[in-house]
């Protein structure tokens, strides 16, 4: 029993990180219909930007600020110089997806080039605190709380602000949004900026787990996809829940009753992804319309 609770807790921790990243991916997909394969590498970008500032002697919570800014700037900038011009030229979504694969390779290996392949840390990870049924490090707790704050903030932004409503309107019906006088290109730009900020922040949280390496975001990417698809692609709220489920499912798969080796736990999440796409492509919480 103890083991199950511990795995559940671990699952929630990793699920929280996935959720923050998944919401960003989902926002972009909802508004643009673009599957951005480079998304995971923006997590890495956020983590390593924070690492640079930690290296300068700043505390992590301060270093997170330029990291988030870097994510927002990078995604927003790419919308300006890459995605929008390509869309205006009528490039198909499939070709945009292929571009994002190229972008992923470039981004990741630039980070490799600058920082090398070795694993780095923000700082020492503290001892686990025993909560009886499970034990977590203080960093784990910061991850869960930090993720919750970001998710609630995003939820409020989507629900209560004009730009958030416009984003939802755009993913509902782009033509009608245009016909209502919404400045569609600006809303798209904001969507990228917000997604970039969230994703970089997710990267900082991921780094808090202890290990920073240039492949960290890429390794998480398929789990992020799994979370997004499970929740119903394009639905931001679905992405949050789907990610938590994915996080917990993959940890639980290593429970001694199931007995899967830890290396294989991501394969379980991937399997979930494939099954969901085949059986219920609109996701568990998605509307059929969203496909």
């Amino acid at each position: 029993m103890q083991e199950a609770f511990q795995l559940l807790a671990n699952g929630i921790v990793i699920g929280s990180v996935i959720a923050v990243a998944a919401v960003g991916l989902s926002l972009v997909f909802g508004v643009l219909g673009l599957i951005n394969v480079a998304h995971g590498d923006f997590l890495t970008l956020g983590a390593f930007t924070a690492l640079v500032f930690v290296g300068l002697g700043l505390p992590l919570y301060v270093a997170a600020v330029p990291a988030i800014a870097a994510g927002a700037l990078a995604m927003g900038g790419l919308e300006k110089v890459l995605w929008k011009p390509m869309r205006d030229r009528g490039t198909s979504n499939v070709n945009l997806l292929i571009i994002s694969i190229g972008l992923a390779l470039v981004l990741r290996h630039v980070i490799f080039w600058i920082f090398g392949a070795r694993v780095q840390r923000f700082g020492p990870v503290s001892e686990r605190i025993d909560f009886g049924l499970f034990a977590l490090t203080p960093q784990d707790i910061i991850i869960v709380v930090g993720s919750a704050i970001a998710l609630i903030g995003t939820g409020l932004m989507l629900q209560k602000t004009r730009i958030g409503t416009a984003m939802r309107a755009l993913s509902d019906n782009k033509d009608l949004a245009e016909a209502s006088g919404i400045n569609v290109s600006r809303v798209i730009l904001y969507t990228w900026v917000i997604a970039g900020a969230l994703t970089a922040y997710g990267g900082v949280l991921l780094g808090l787990q202890g290990r920073l390496f240039p492949n960290m975001g890429w390794f998480l990417l398929l789990l992020i996809f799994a979370g997004v698809i499970l929740g119903g692609i394009g639905s931001a709220y679905g992405a949050m829940i789907g990610s938590l489920i994915i996080g917990v499912a993959q940890e639980m798969a290593t429970h001694s009753i199931i007995g899967l080796p830890a290396d294989l736990k991501t394969a379980v999440a991937f399997l979930v992804l494939i099954l969901v796409l085949l059986v219920r492509p609109q996701g568990i919480f998605g509307r059929r319309k969203a496909i």
């Binding site: 080796p261 394969a267 796409l277």
Partner: protein, 306 residues
């Protein structure tokens, strides 16, 4: 210098095969397969396991490898081709990764694949064979090069015959408009599966040759990067063209391996490796941005593409 060209041409040949399979999927049938590396790996591993663990001969093992890749192609295709194109891309990427994780640490499976430690010692018979084939005058590398390019040419010819036959015409029709083809009485599902299976078999063949080239197998050799490289090659040469994958592969690997000549005083070996990957990524983006039809593809077809 000769060694450099040998290395380039062997790798280029193997990847030309991979790209030929991919070209059948994407260029002619319109299927977005991003899990090509799985079929590649199946070829390598079936070959090695048959020889090392079960002690079969080269020929039987080779046939088994091709067969395994084909069957796996059908198994993947059956559910996957019902999906929308971009979902198919995600599912195939994921299948590739699952496959790699399973050969690396799948319970029971690792007894055959030996997990991260990998398999070696399967290629002796292949190289001994060179005397019997009357190719004894070639050194092993040259011999491998000849075999690889013989395979590329044979596969290229067979594909050429196949694709300009009515069968290939149906595939192109499916790429253009599935519903129109249904209305013309063609069983679209069946053709997509056939296309998937044949492309997978070619990837399996590439996997066998790759195994012979590297001499020892381990899961890290089968990262999704392999798939992306094959895609780059296919797009560089020109999708939906017969010679595109071959020409694309030679150019790609000449550039890629050319970076080996950059002296260490400028970049270290590790840095050069990263630079090469950056090059692959940049090349993918550049092709789509500057010349989406590739070197041999027709601009007009690209423009007419919806």
């Amino acid at each position: 210098m000769i060694a450099y060209f040998q290395t380039v041409l062997i790798t280029a040949g193997i990847f030309a095969l991979l790209a030929q399979g991919l070209n059948l999927h994407r260029g002619y049938t319109g299927l977005l397969n991003f899990g090509h590396v799985a079929f590649f790996a199946i070829g390598s591993y079936t070959m090695a396991i048959m020889i090392v663990t079960f002690e079969f001969g080269l020929l039987i093992s080779f046939i088994a490898a091709m067969l395994a890749a084909t069957i796996f192609g059908i198994v993947v295709a059956l559910p996957a081709i019902r999906l929308r194109t971009d979902y198919l891309a995600i599912v195939t990427i994921t299948i590739g990764e699952i496959f790699r994780l399973v050969i690396q640490s799948g319970p029971g499976v690792t007894e055959l694949t030996r997990g991260p430690r990998g398999i070696r010692g399967y290629s002796n018979e292949f190289f001994f064979l060179r005397e019997d084939l009357g190719l004894g005058f070639l050194d092993p590398q040259m011999y491998l090069l000849v075999i690889v390019w013989a395979a590329v040419i044979v596969v290229g010819l067979l594909l050429f015959l196949l694709l300009r036959s009515p069968w290939g015409r149906v595939l192109k029709g499916i790429r253009e408009d599935e519903d129109a083809m249904r209305a013309l009485g063609k069983n679209v599902t069946s053709y997509k599966i056939q296309s998937f299976a044949i492309g997978a078999a070619i990837a399996g063949l590439a996997g066998v040759l790759f195994a012979m080239d590297i001499g020892s197998l381990s899961p890290v050799a089968y990262l999704p990067l392999i798939t992306f490289q094959a895609w780059t090659i296919m797009m560089l040469g020109g999708m939906g063209t017969h010679l595109g994958p071959i020409i694309g592969s030679i150019i790609f690997w000449s550039i890629f391996n050319g970076t080996l000549f950059i002296p260490d005083s400028i970049v270290t070996g590790a840095e050069a490796a990263y630079l090469r990957q950056i090059g692959v990524g940049a090349l993918i983006m550049l092709i789509i941005i500057v010349r989406p039809q590739g070197i041999l593809g027709s601009r007009e077809e690209m423009v007419l593409d919806k």
